[in-house]
Amino acid sequence: MATGLTPNSDGMAAGTTSTNGVVPALAVTSVSKTFSGNRVLSNVSMTLESGEIRMLLGGNGSGKSTFIKILSGYHHKDDGGEIRIGGEILPDLNPHAAHHLGARFVHQDLGLIQDSSILDNMFMTGKFPARFGTVDARKAKQLTNASLEQVGLDLDVRTLIRDLSPVQKTGVAIARAIGLSDSNPIRLLVLDEPTATLPAAEVHQLLATVRRVADSGVAVIYVTHRFDEVFELPSRVTILRGGSEVLTTDSATLTREELVGHIVGSEVLAVVENTTTTFDTHAEPVLEVEDLQTPLVNGLTFRVHPGEILGFSGVTGSGRELINSAVFGATTRLGGVVTCAGVQVKANRPDLAIAAGIAFVPADRKIHGGFMNLSARENISISGLKSFWKFPRINRSTESHDALNWFQRLAVRPAGAISAALGSFSGGNQQKVIMGKWMRLGPKVMLFEEPTQGVDVGAKAEIYRQFAEASASGSALVVSSADVDELVAVCHRVLVLRHGHIVEELTGRELTVANVTRASLVDSSEDLANGVHP
């Protein structure tokens, strides 16, 4: 609906205190936040003109999500600061006021209902246009089409969300946020890590959408972990660290190294290059997978040598996401033979896979990885309780000792907090605890699915360091990741999948981001024409 995007100047509300006539879409003045004596945000100020895109960057604990949550009315800010949207003061803890003043939020999980159509989703948060108490289908369709057009999407409104590509889903969520507005103009759109789970190829499309929205006069705050986007979408960049603003500048003036430096601060970022290790290519392969069949993969064969780090790349739907879990037995293996160090591993039996020396770190820590309400110590020891069990009891002190040892080796923060519930750790530290659970078994093969998803830069470096150490100690690693930079940085060899088949094997000099990306994207219709089953 076009009226939803009335330029800011038209919609200037009463109560404006601006002096020069142009009211910024968002004016934040020295906002702070203290949680039980712990200052997580201090004196952050930020002004956004309408139509401006602001990249907000920072590691975990930098204060960026607290900042967003204050804007959206989820947290109270400390006394003294002020937030104005379109010139009007935003009261604390009032999501309705934020909405009323024209602020919209799209969170990473999008909040779409998978089994409903685009149209139904569009009106879920608002009201269906109605006539005599029944839904006015024609009007609803018109409004939906108009909203989709705003973000540059051309889709049948009856399409189910589940049938959309990830980037289309994000687009629909944005369209829903900014479209269909009641009389108030939209002034501010906040996108909280919209690309965290998007395949690289689709990120471009999303950035184009964001550009389009901004061009229509909406100020956009764009929170991200991915550095590439900063350079792809010319904009202002604000970097937070430890709750304070470190820098606000034009993205064009920054180099990648500077950017990382500002985010990480004085903490030394163990740069990935020197973590690459070597391995003996003549050694017998420790993991052999023959003719693996999963719902998305049809006959996959590969081998991994001791000390080798093998990567799997491929866009969503290529089948990449299910290789590791099918090898381990976490998801269905329909066929094929998996052999670890000479032992055949039965399908769908994680316990036997573990016994054969395979470890698996899944992508979703909350759902598959860890026990969020159990202590870190219990999370670490669960993989091999028998070593602590001596009648009549589990030896707590050796168990704690072991957990502390892994906390130290993996630099888990807060240090020594082995009795804290896993859920109370940050994403990166949860991942380290889960890695500790496996590494204490000294596995022959470690399978990683999206090992650094939702992990901050510091923890990432630590995880890569552990990869190198595990590889040096003779473990074979298989890393499946949507992050091509990551694969290129840590792997000896990368297999690229498309439509359930390995289409490329890259090693040595050939192993570059460009090559991997190209291999995973080359026109898929070509394959279809050649009769390759999708």
């Binding site: 712990n38 997580v40 996401e321 269905t332 009549p392 109370s424």
Partner: protein, 357 residues
């Protein structure tokens, strides 16, 4: 830095049951001192709660693994009837009857396990149905009549004999059982596995825990304990075809209330016992003030809901505090739109595979 504060907070929350208990005792000691402050009252509260306590333990073991056992009431009925009818109708030795009865309880638990683990029926439904079947079979077996009590004194003395200062010996059984289960749940791998399964079944499976085996075992244990509760009830008050279902609610109330005590957020033995005696003291005291048969039910119902509401609110505030402390970005770790379609389909096919084998 925040730990010292946290310990202090927990101190209040962890032992709130003890404070409430103290308050109950003081109130009723002042209100109705003549009745309340007597050895008889203390003894009757204590021995009167033993069967509830064993039932609560029976409920708790599978609940730790996230599995409901609603058949414990029926299994206890079975226990109360069979332990007597084996003796009076089939003229078996008392000890043999008891052992046989408890083994039947174990078998009921094993069947529950089969239905839950192998037939993939939701535990709530499976045990609800099993409970109904068990009562039907027991009623059929005994022809709807409660069997005659054994004439020998030993049967009653098994639970009602007095020891030291007028307490029935049955309390000793409860304490022994509590100690044993405490050991199993807190100090052995079995306990760890149950808690891990209850915390996150998928993660447990992916950590190599034999989820099916432990769920099955926990249900077998539950049936065995419920059978034991029936034996105790029968010895204490005689066989009954109806008492079991009435004990289901107090058992669940105690277990959930207990999970807010001592180690908040976890089902635990001592918290459960504490909850049982706090509730019983409250009910008993009020009974002295206003003799009302409905008090018991009201008290337990309110306690169950309040306990769960309390636990939920604690979790929520903790969740918020966690976000606060870590300042994590919202749901960074859920790759929601990224993987959900494949994983859903896969889960279904796994279920189908196992179903057809």
């Amino acid at each position: 830095m925040s730990t010292s504060k946290r310990k202090l907070n927990l101190g209040m929350a962890r032992f709130s049951g003890l404070y409430v208990w103290g308050i109950f005792i003081i109130i009723f000691a002042i209100w109705v001192p003549k009745y309340f402050l007597s050895m008889a009252t203390a003894s009757s509260i204590a021995s009167g709660q033993v069967v509830t306590g064993v039932m609560a333990f029976a409920v708790m073991v599978p609940l730790i693994a996230g599995v409901f056992d609603l058949s414990v009431g029926s299994t206890a009925i079975m226990g109360s009837i069979f332990s007597v009818s084996f003796q009076t109708q089939y003229h078996m030795n008392m000890w043999l009857s008891i052992i046989l009865t408890m083994l039947i309880g174990l078998v009921i638990g094993l069947v529950n396990g089969f239905v839950v683990v192998k037939l993939h029926v939701n535990s709530f439904i499976a045990t609800l149905g099993m409970g109904s079947i068990v009562v039907a079979l027991v009623t059929w077996e005994c022809g709807g009549l409660q069997p005659l009590l054994p004439t020998s004194q030993t049967w009653g003395n098994l639970t009602q004999a007095f020891f030291g200062g007028g307490f029935q010996v049955v309390i000793f059984y409860l304490v022994a059982l509590a100690l044993f289960l405490w050991w199993v749940l807190s100090f052995t791998p079995a306990g760890r596995y149950l808690f891990a399964i209850g915390s996150n079944t998928d993660a447990a499976r992916l950590s190599g825990v034999s989820v099916d085996f432990w769920i099955w075992t926990s249900l077998a244990c539950s049936g065995f304990l419920a059978g034991f509760a029936g034996v105790l009830f029968s010895s204490q008050t005689g066989p009954s075809l109806s008492f079991g279902s009435g004990l289901l609610l107090p058992a669940f109330a105690a277990v959930f209330l207990g999970s807010t005590q001592l180690t908040p957020g976890r089902f635990n033995i001592w918290g459960t016992l504490l909850a049982i005696f706090v509730l019983a003291t409250g009910v008993q005291g009020l009974q002295f003030v206003i003799q009302a048969p409905w008090l018991d039910g009201l008290f337990n119902g309110v306690a169950l809901i309040a306990a769960v509401a309390f636990a939920v609110s604690r979790q929520r505030s903790e969740g918020r505090r966690k976000e606060v402390e870590q300042n994590q970005s919202i749901s960074v770790e859920s790759p929601s739109s990224f993987e959900e379609q494949p994983s859903i389909e896969i889960d279904e096919s796994v279920a189908q595979d196992q179903g057809t084998i």
